[in-house]
């Protein structure tokens, strides 16, 4: 990437645009009160205006004095973990705690360097299993269960 269009500039630009978008959204809503202190968007507008101002200042600073972000050792490793984490937090509500946790652990351990399939398999089943056993069956504080069985 060039000096001007780099990761830092892109992130700051995105932050500025998000702030601007949210600020614009405050005008799209109709509220029962528009009086200064009673308007629900009075305080958020102040905060979003400061958000945009600060994002702009940081953006100008980043363009004027470009600096590199820390290099990523392995993008594929990071992207797989990122996707796994986001998917994991998404599916627990639908598929229960145990099964997504087994899959997530089976993906996460090799990413962090555990290659032995026996160890990966054992950990991936034992740790989520122990948590389910402890919370669902010992404490009686149920974690989400899957669509297949009420046990996990």
């Amino acid at each position: 990437m060039t000096h001007i269009v780099n990761e830092r500039v892109m992130v700051l630009l995105a932050l500025f645009l998000v702030g601007g978008g949210l600020y614009a959204a405050t005008f799209g809503q109709i509220y029962s009160s528009t009086e200064t202190a009673q308007s629900p968007v009075f305080f958020p507008r102040i905060i979003l205006a400061l958000w945009m101002l600060l994002a702009l200042a940081a953006l100008v600073q980043a363009v004027r004095a470009p600096s590199d972000t820390a290099p990523v050792t392995s993008w594929p490793r990071l992207i797989v973990l990122l996707l796994a984490a986001v998917t994991y937090t998404n599916v627990i509500g639908r598929e229960g705690f145990f099964l997504p946790s087994v899959v997530f652990a089976a993906i996460s351990l090799p990413i962090f360097g555990i290659r032995n399939p026996l160890v990966v398999g054992l950990y991936a089943v034992a740790v989520p299993g122990a948590l389910v056993l402890f919370f669902n069956h010992l404490l009686g504080m149920p974690l989400p269960v899957s669509r297949f069985t009420y046990l996990f």
């Binding site: 009673q38 600060l54 820390a70 050792t73 990122l82 994991y88 627990i92 946790s101 962090f112």
Partner: protein, 500 residues
């Protein structure tokens, strides 16, 4: 209340009473040390067990877990740079650099002593000065509270390592996140975009765990593989010698005072106290310039204040029925479940129960020292496993912890999103502490600002005319905000002159 002390001791010095105090503190320390569990979740996890207990043991068990978890959070903060509880986030700033220097034992020693002193003093304050402190807090109207929160917000500048602009921006993001959901004054929905899950706003714990713990896992995945979780050399707690306290007692005293005062104000909490105290220590301590580099005063500022909050927060809870933070709100619910009506008449109607709770709280804080010395050795090996196991377990435990707060799968989504956003921002040098400070202080800042404007017919200038406390607090906030910027400019001037 002192006349009820013998009866209170009779309740405490039974097998059940002592077991509750010891086991509760042990459980609190262990759960607090586990990243992603946190004090609120730890107390919530124990809550169902208290329903079969008597009134005093039930409250004491929760208090022991509370005080233990606030201290336990420092173990993970110092050893693996991941705060076990949000209250320990400020402890990471100096605890972990100190541990990286090979002084993990001493760092935990400072944290332990500061926590014990903070907790003990707050217990004494709770016992002897509760009515006066509660009365003082009640004198604060919305304008004074607004000025206080504004002062608290200035600590964003202090904790913004690297770039003040990015720190302030992170703070604004945090405050904005706190505005999502129902408007606190007229109840209309804001920024929910038709999503009913957002009606109650973003869960603070989900965001805190996401930006600190989950983003930490992603940060570790982006760097070279390590066999262990950033292992630091730890062979047990090393208590600081008396000579090492020279020049630090003033900072300790100030931190304990801040913790008590912040704790007694409803709706603030230990995380706020820790950051305000840290910022104040950085400003006023003779070692302030070393904050963020492994300075013991930084650990003392954070730990003394967050443990001092525990007692302070109980004052409005017990005396007025107003919870000081989320955990005391759970305790309030427990009191109600046990048939006790919280409110001003609680102390008058239940002197023995109150004496037992307050005395038990003092004993719990005494127990933190021996149990901390023993349990840190047990907790450290748990934290010292290979990075792969630790990182995977952190994600699983975070999911469990976040889910248990409200039993709402949507909070897990929030945690995931906060983790990704936190990772992206941290890569660009954004500090995460200001985001959390913004989220914690944001709601009070908004409510008090709007109530104040309603009271003054929309005149912001009137906030500081006729409100001497607000004026002093507001001016202090202004000085606190401008002083670091001025220092920064003055520091840059000689270097520019040298370049020329």
């Amino acid at each position: 209340m002192l006349s009820s002390l013998p009866d209170a001791l009779a309740i405490l010095l039974t097998v059940e009473g002592l077991l509750v105090l010891v086991m509760g503190t042990v459980l609190g320390i262990v759960l607090g040390a586990m990243p992603g569990i946190g004090s609120t979740v730890a107390v919530a996890m124990v809550l169902p067990f208290t329903l079969t207990m008597g009134q005093a043991p039930a409250i004491l068990l929760l208090l022991a877990v509370y005080a233990g978890s606030v201290y336990g959070g420092s173990i993970a903060a110092i050893l693996i740079n991941t705060p076990g509880t949000p209250q320990s986030a400020a402890t990471c700033l100096d605890g972990y650099p100190m541990a990286q220097r090979g002084e993990a034992g001493l760092a935990l020693g400072w944290a332990t002593v500061a926590s014990v002193i903070g907790g003990l003093v707050s217990a004494i304050v709770l016992i002897f000065a509760a009515p006066q402190l509660a009365a003082f807090a009640l004198e604060f109207g919305p304008i004074e509270t607004f000025a206080l929160i504004l002062l608290g917000m200035t600590c964003i500048v202090s904790v913004s390592t690297g770039s003040v602009i990015k720190g302030l921006l992170a703070g604004m993001i945090g405050i904005f996140l706190s505005t999502v959901g129902g408007d606190p004054i007229i109840g209309e929905m804001r920024f929910t975009f038709g999503q009913w899950q957002l009606f109650a706003g973003f869960n603070l714990l989900a965001v805190v765990i996401g930006v600190f713990a989950l983003s930490e896992v992603l940060m570790r995945a982006s760097t070279a593989l390590s066999q262990t979780s950033e292992l630091v050399d730890f062979k047990g707690i090393v208590l600081p010698k008396l000579a090492m306290w020279k020049g630090r007692l003033k900072n300790l005293g100030k931190s304990v005072l801040i913790g008590n005062l912040v704790g007694v104000l409803p709706g603030t909490g230990a995380a706020t106290a820790a950051f305000i105290s840290y910022a104040e220590g950085r400003r006023s301590s003779s070692n302030g310039a070393n904050y963020g580099t492994g300075e013991p005063d930084g650990i003392v500022s954070s730990e003394a204040a967050n443990n001092a909050v525990t007692g302070g927060a109980l004052v409005p809870t017990m005396a007025l029925g107003i919870p000081g933070d989320a955990i005391t709100a759970v305790m309030l619910a427990t009191l109600t479940l046990h048939g006790i009506t919280p409110g001003p008449k609680l102390v008058e109607d239940n002197p023995t129960l109150i004496a037992a709770i307050f005395t038990g709280f003092f004993i719990i804080n005494l127990l933190l020292l021996p149990l901390g010395l023993i349990l840190s050795r047990v907790a450290a090996p748990i934290l010292r496993v290979r990075e792969a196991y630790m990182m995977t377990a952190i994600v699983l435990l975070c999911a469990v912890g976040v889910y248990f707060v409200r039993g709402n799968p949507f909070d897990l989504l929030v945690m995931g999103a906060a983790g990704v956003v936190g990772f992206v921002l941290r890569r660009q040098g954004f500090p995460m502490a200001p985001l959390v400070i913004g989220m914690v202080l944001g709601p009070t800042l908004e409510i008090t600002l709007r109530q104040g404007l309603i009271l003054t017919d929309g005149s912001f200038a009137a906030f500081f005319v006729g409100h001497p406390i607000a004026l002093v607090l507001g001016l202090t906030a202004l000085v606190a905000l401008l002083l670091p910027l001025l220092r920064h400019q003055l520091a840059r001037r000689p270097s520019r002159q040298n370049q020329e």
